[in-house]
Symmetry: C2
Subunit: 305 residues, 2 copies
Amino acid sequence: MSIVVIGSVAYDAIETPHGKRERTLGGACTYIALSASYFTSTSIVGVVGSDFADEDRALLSNKNVDLQGLEQVEGKTFFWSGVYSADMNDRTTLQTDLNVFADFKPKLPQAYANEPYLFLGNIQPGLQRQVQREMPNVRFVGGDTMNFWISSSHDELLETIKHWDFLLINDSEARMLVNEQNLKRAAAKILELGPNTLIIKRGEYGAMLFRKDTFFAVPGYLLDQVFDPTGAGDCFAGGFVGYLAERGFDLRGGDFDVTELHRAVVYGSVMGSFCCEQFGVERLRNLTRKEIDARFEDFKRFTNF
Amino acid sequence: MSIVVIGSVAYDAIETPHGKRERTLGGACTYIALSASYFTSTSIVGVVGSDFADEDRALLSNKNVDLQGLEQVEGKTFFWSGVYSADMNDRTTLQTDLNVFADFKPKLPQAYANEPYLFLGNIQPGLQRQVQREMPNVRFVGGDTMNFWISSSHDELLETIKHWDFLLINDSEARMLVNEQNLKRAAAKILELGPNTLIIKRGEYGAMLFRKDTFFAVPGYLLDQVFDPTGAGDCFAGGFVGYLAERGFDLRGGDFDVTELHRAVVYGSVMGSFCCEQFGVERLRNLTRKEIDARFEDFKRFTNF
């Protein structure tokens, strides 16, 4: 059962204290799909330019990512470049060239229309809503957003997430979305906006899941070297939805074990932690499901009391 | 079995977004002893001035805190005042009057000498070492320090903690102590300095415990109102050592269940979270053991997967 992922496919230039890459495959959609691919089949909807390399297409194909929805048009692929501070806690964007992504109008291939799961990556909220309308029979739909849409398209964003089952954002976005500094109260307010499930990512500090019937928190995985945190939040999203899809989870279907949602947050954390171990998507080239499950067990051990 | 706690007893003036107090009982030793008192009997070693109020002495006595080691001398009690930022993440010290604490020379009452547990609160490292020499037969000894001693008395501090079973500090102190930004590597370096157990507090983000044979991490407790975080780290310390003392734990005695150390970290987190619910030590006036154990169970639920 496949997850359809909508979002950016990009080339990134990244500099961290551990080195730099001039041009490496990136974009939220890429990270989410590659991460989720360890759990289930994935299908993406995105756009790239004529410069998109065959080897990058091959990387996705080799992970069984369905590329029917990856439109290729004349022009350049979305390009982003950024540099991380010495302690990795700050990131400065040096350049953002939207290129062909500026006119991205998601086109859902007919073959995707009956897939059961939909993840709406961070794009303009009106476009997210439009895609959702084309997949009315999903078992869950949810997604991500960012500070730019929260401030520039607030009403449209609210109208969009009203119809989502889950919202997956970071702590500063959660605070900003409902203008509430206290995370517990911010979460309670967000759960009044439509989504029945809210996942808040806190980077190295871990993640939390809020619902009216459960609350879950997990600390971050402690790495002895954070090589490059780019894409870690998107890999988290991929692990979260991937695990639920693998389990055939139905967020709209009444009875389910909320502990499965807790486990999905841990699998998200596992995927986010692996992402940081190498530059860009590199760790996802050689990562195995065995390593993923071993780290899940590691989480069990180091949170046991 | 009693814990002997050495450290500051003070009056604090505190301002947070929720209000202010002009003069309220404070000091690390006070918070640690009050927190630990829910688990075991405690005995303190500290100094106060002639202005120390009978009602504050009574608060401690009523919690079975042994005050034989609380010296009262001519002069004023240590006074600290600070103000918290709107989001509570920053604190500005307005005033620090060491007063009688400036000349504090801990005097261990004879009656304390055979107590099994010793917690050395944040004072000059040479003084910490001196107290430890007077209690050679403990089942564990450990303590706290701060950035001031890490920079101004680095060698003396290293000589002091070399003989501790555990060190309990916050993340920035851990990084500073061994000049290592990555926490996992910093922890490994600290475990080479003497203590077999390292507890790192991360405020609202939780806490971690490092040993060669185990690693544990727990997220912070999510409060819907942080009233005043003053003393939360010290209450954590009190809960941590209090629980271990209650269990008769022997960190020097060979075989033990490391999971008990994990539980001690959770009890520390529980106590730290309660501390933030009211101003200063106020929450510790009416807090019950039943509430503490209920919150411990709450931690079990919200970290379960």
